[in-house]
Symmetry: D3
């Protein structure tokens, strides 16, 4: 159950209307890496944690709720950046036709002219934010990543926070309003905060690599196929030891020849690794029971209820 208070988490202010910046700021409102996406992503991920992982549920709901508040901060800022557009458009009898506007005579005309970079600000919901990105694409749930596997979802969240952070960094360069910069700086800082929160939560789940139960075959996990020819480069991604499984990278310089000589890799033997199919099977069997057990033991057979009420 949600509550709302009319105070914003951060004191959002603008120095003067700026419809052009309002347009780009839509990225943070209804864009692919905006606040609505973050809020709903954590909110949706939380459902499968509710019973088996109440601590992660609490964290996800804490952050989801904060993001709904950030969505409100962004919307409020856009509304203020659009200034008098809404009011002017309601003055329906005073003509501000396009032809006159473009010569930019008066303050009103200038405002309308600026709003025109996104016509939805004039003909859709004049002077008000919309759930789109800066190009007018409507927000879409495909932006949300949720797999009901925490070690995957927390990584999606870290990557998502990284994208959100760079989004605010880009926005900061496109305005010179110091009050707006303050708000953007706060929101940017919070993405960096959340990133670290998700990272800390991931570390409490061990092992977490590879995510899920299956450990993957040692035959294929350390092969690097040189498939883009010309100016080939070497680095820790194709020589030395791999970051997590600690195997030796096998650089396959002639992929076609390799594939043809191994019956499509079927005949290839593991190299550069101590991992064996046997060890892996054992680990998988263990993890399979452990991970499903955690969830199943917290799932009632029937007569489920979501919460208890303490008076």
């Amino acid at each position: 159950m949600f509550y709302h208070v009319k105070d914003l988490q951060f004191n959002a202010r603008v120095s003067r209307p700026d419809p052009r910046f309002a347009r780009v700021m839509l990225e943070a409102f209804g864009g692919a890496n905006g606040e609505l996406k973050s809020a709903l992503q954590y909110f949706v991920q939380a459902f499968s944690c509710h019973n088996p992982f109440p601590d992660k549920y609490d964290m996800l709901m804490d952050i989801a709720t904060e993001e709904f508040g950030h969505l409100e901060i962004v919307g409020a800022t856009i509304q203020m950046l659009l200034g008098k557009v809404n009011g002017e458009m309601k003055d329906a009898l005073e003509d501000t036709p396009l032809h006159t506007m473009m010569s930019g005579k008066s303050a009103k005309e200038e405002l309308i002219h600026q709003a025109f970079t996104n016509p939805q600000f004039l003909v859709g919901a004049p002077g008000s934010p919309a759930l789109t990105d800066s190009n007018g694409n409507p927000w879409c749930a495909t932006y949300v990543s949720a797999t009901a596997e925490l070690t995957v979802d927390l990584r999606s969240n870290m990557a998502g926070e990284a994208r959100a952070k760079i989004g605010y960094e880009n926005l900061l360069q496109l305005t010179d309003d110091p009050l707006v910069k303050e708000t953007l700086g706060f929101l940017m800082a919070r993405e960096v905060t959340h990133y670290q929160q998700f990272e800390a939560a991931l570390a409490t789940i061990q092992p977490n690599f590879p995510p899920g139960v299956f450990q993957t075959s040692p035959r294929y996990s350390n092969l690097y196929f040189d498939l883009s020819k010309g100016e080939d480069a070497r680095g820790p991604w194709n020589e030395g030891e791999s970051t997590q499984l600690k195997e030796q990278w096998q650089y396959i310089e002639k992929p076609l020849e390799e594939v043809r000589s191994t019956n499509g890799l079927l005949d290839r033997k593991p190299e550069g690794t101590d991992r064996s199919e046997k060890n892996i099977a054992k680990k998988e069997a263990h993890l399979s029971k452990e991970r499903s057990g955690q969830v199943l033991s917290a799932t009632p057979e029937e007569k489920a209820s979501w919460c208890k009420y303490h008076q």
Copy 2:
């Protein structure tokens, strides 16, 4: 700023898992007339009311916040309806292949089999809700209607609540779980409640028809064109008095002849109405000033801040 409490507004419960019903219940979660749509629609509409219409802002935010809570109720119910799907899918080494499943031998297989009516419940986010409708279409912001004109938005909300109500009515017929029916009944009742709240709010804005400032020409507002031929019907929509403008309906039986004889309606004179262009112009001038004045007087020229903090 939002708060969240882990108690649900309504005591959501399910008697037993039922993945097939979980699929159709997605309509109320990520569907076109579901709870997310309602919540975000009122939330977005509220921004342009914040300054000029604080009472409507309060109402929109009260209801938006309740709808976020309903979204949580629906998601919790779907999660419970999916029962052990998430846990079983994590038991990665126990095979429940498709071929075996379809013969439906054991309880586990039956559960997975049922979940298969929506494969996202198995391969996307096993055993967990997703922001889609029952056919898997991702939620999309085009579902949200917001025009920054309250007399329009409140009507959109009434229609939206009517659609949501009939959606729950349809769902109620597709389950026989009495606990789920209780929850659906509560949610359905709230749509009926909200409908009346929006209707009451609309009535406080006068005049509210036609919405907006322009009153529309008396020449065209009472014409009924009989454009679908055969088994023509008459009713209060094309004879007698019109509902709001109280004009006499003019039934145009031969639209082509009418259009040709009036130079494409340009030469047509008003009939069946007392409204005159002159009266209309006067009313429009008055409304134009009044409505824009309400908004402009509440919009700061510069140095805008969204809220005051009272310690």
Copy 3:
């Protein structure tokens, strides 16, 4: 079966080309509340009325057909507003490169420059309308609301016409071409007309509130939850009598406490209402038979044919 005549319902004219206004006018062509949406919405709703409600079928098809004609009027206006763009773009060897264009020297360059506000007017279908909104979003069937329940659909139509009306009101403020204003004025007037037609049709179905069969529990239908805190407002939406069910609003100032003390509302008793579960059940039973009977009696068991042909 449809017929087409090459005369438009209204004598659409433009004084001079204006590609910038053509862009915003796309809202009425391929936008979420444009003419295509109206036409297809009524057309789709009509199918389930064909047998049981032939009078409503006639009305829906009359208006749907008119809206297809309005779509044509809007498209024709956009085509005229784009003037010579199509012809100039076919003059492929005369360079009008971007760099030169932007300095706006000649009439041709100015035209192309203006068209550039929507690049689809140059690279998609030069000088011709497209089924998108002003931001280039392709028209999408999610705009269409149809539930196969007339008391809901007619409300969706009223709200849709209200949105379309305000859309034309916004457009009217963005052009100073008197001929275009005439056409916009006509189209705007028709939305007001259709609104009243749908309202009249709704009134002939009794009872129509709540829409559908289920009457909703008296325990939940008059509760107002104060969920957005700060500057709370009171009005007819949360005090006094509700608009349709004529119950007394119950204002719940402390929602969390209420929920906790009623076991998630399960233990709450009806207040402020004369409606009883018993009366409601009786009314539902009656309506259930009546409403399904109307449809079933008009639906053939088998050997269905859609129409009779009278020679």
Copy 4:
């Protein structure tokens, strides 16, 4: 301006309800190659032909109008195939829960059960067609191809009719209702008809290959790059004479070597062709003037009106 008559162009009938076939038949209603797509594609293409090519305008509007009628035939068939679903769903108090349904006891349950293959037939618009394809994807204007260049659009139409034809061929194999087969056979035949009409219209525009004005360089137009290695095949698409420009195909067996030895093809000289840059330039200059002239001469400078009214 459109007219509608309640008689269908073809006598659509069904022998008995069949919700499962109704689902797949949605392809022809709201699918990517369905009737709505055809109708709107020709309708949109027609606008740029209205002034300069009135004969093509007439043809496009004749066929567009027929396709709207076909859309109606398909919708009527789906409505009849859904039989009593709408009526049964309005019988809200008679439970037909999912659990009971799946055992398929009674006729009613069987009907609802079948409808369940597309849950929208139950929870969206019970027993009524929707503007989606068989998987529930909403119809989208990206299906429509229109470029404002007739020699391209007519080819898009031929390809579109071919896709629609094979669509009906596939549908015909999925029903054994002889009445439905009759209707599908009629609709399929009309796609074949329209294909030939567009082909005939294309042939009246000369030259029509390549479409547009530019003739393309003789250096690149007859090269065949063998880029997929293994089991290479030869055929008239890479040996002998090209179909339209009548050049000799140049088979480039070693694309990388070719590209490296010609400075990225910049140094390559024309081979296997009599076409010269000079001839081409002349042809382009001629076509450029001719094609733009046809359009420009039919486009008024200002004071444009779309149609004349003859009383």
Copy 5:
């Protein structure tokens, strides 16, 4: 299996940055008729040809692979057209706010200003291409046509190449950079090439009209319905002989009367054709066996493997 070489098929170059042209060139990258669409369309169509039609498989994969290379050429050109935008945006501390930018003082500001016509170039992926069209619509698989019937797919490909060709023709008119024009000219020429390749391949499949197996009824295939009234035109599409079936067009001037007098066309007899139901049935039976036989004989019952490896 794919290989990549870092040399482009064509020596793509630009004379100077031009973000505005980069925006429109997105049409060829992530637009509905761009290179990604072509590449994926042929790639997807190829799967069903792999076994039964290895020569067509080879051709489709040759061209698909070339189109992936063209996608790379277009992306590289856009990247070069965006010049220093990426680098400048990383200079995060040097302010280039919107207000200053619009007065266009310095080179850097001018560049950013130009990039602003598509805000994604600044806030999404600064200075880098995105998989959208020029209006920012994300690339979508609905652009791809594939029906698993070669005589249809090859026609879709011809139409697609025609649209791609005119797309480049339009782009060529919007830049004056001679180096970019060279690249566009090469890409345009290749569309014309591919068109002819698909046309040649189609001709090797006989008969190919109508596509598929069913030959369509002689009663309906030569009827022309005059459904758009006024300024009716005659041409080879409604008089004389049809292009493929060589029937005489039957011009139906009064469609409603025709339909009413033939019981919805059911009673109509074939006219203007020598084709008979009997001949047609024979041809269909033959084709049905032949076409399915070609595919079935190349499809293993079980133990299928996709390729053989030759060492």
Copy 6:
């Protein structure tokens, strides 16, 4: 420039047709975390690395190219899983109507029946893969994350590989075909490989946290707001030291009080951190120059060409 060889990277095989599994395997073909998404994501990210970071460019193109090959493996497997569906559907005259099918008499009918779980396998492209996910949603470029900032993109890639890995883990549980399991196992292993490659590449860029230039204010980066009340949990995400910036978490138990007492956080001072605004500004200034310098120095002012050709 791409090459293709007809040998697959892995020897894809299936034991027997299984259209139901083909449906869910579409997730890996045209799904949000499928192979097409991976291939295009790395391909698009590569453009902005081409000049300044040739080693990362090489890696991204190596992996992108491998993913295109994986897309081919998945498509080939789906094609084999669909077995004779394509061939049977071409046998157009042998009826396999739905009614008969559902009783499942013969092998052919069973096959068609199974294919029906995704009707596109019958009416779209019979017996052939389509670029959709398992619910039929068309692939969409919004799945692709690319920001032109490597330290962000590499994190998006790691998260994407994690999602792809768990996707294959889910698929493995839904089939019992050992040959298909082999292929899925290979593909799953490669996701784990790529994850480690991206992680290694990220580590070569220092500092990489926070991503981008701005370091974020010390006032806001270590605050944890307890916004979801009830059963609050503590863990390393809200107590102790933060993972990257090594600050002490500040747990704000009463967010509203905090916000009100700090004028919306404006008056709050840094706590639990050694980072100072001054140090941060210095670091930002340094990074700003360094990072932009890397890119700008590799970007030609004009006369750009993408590659050199070595003969």
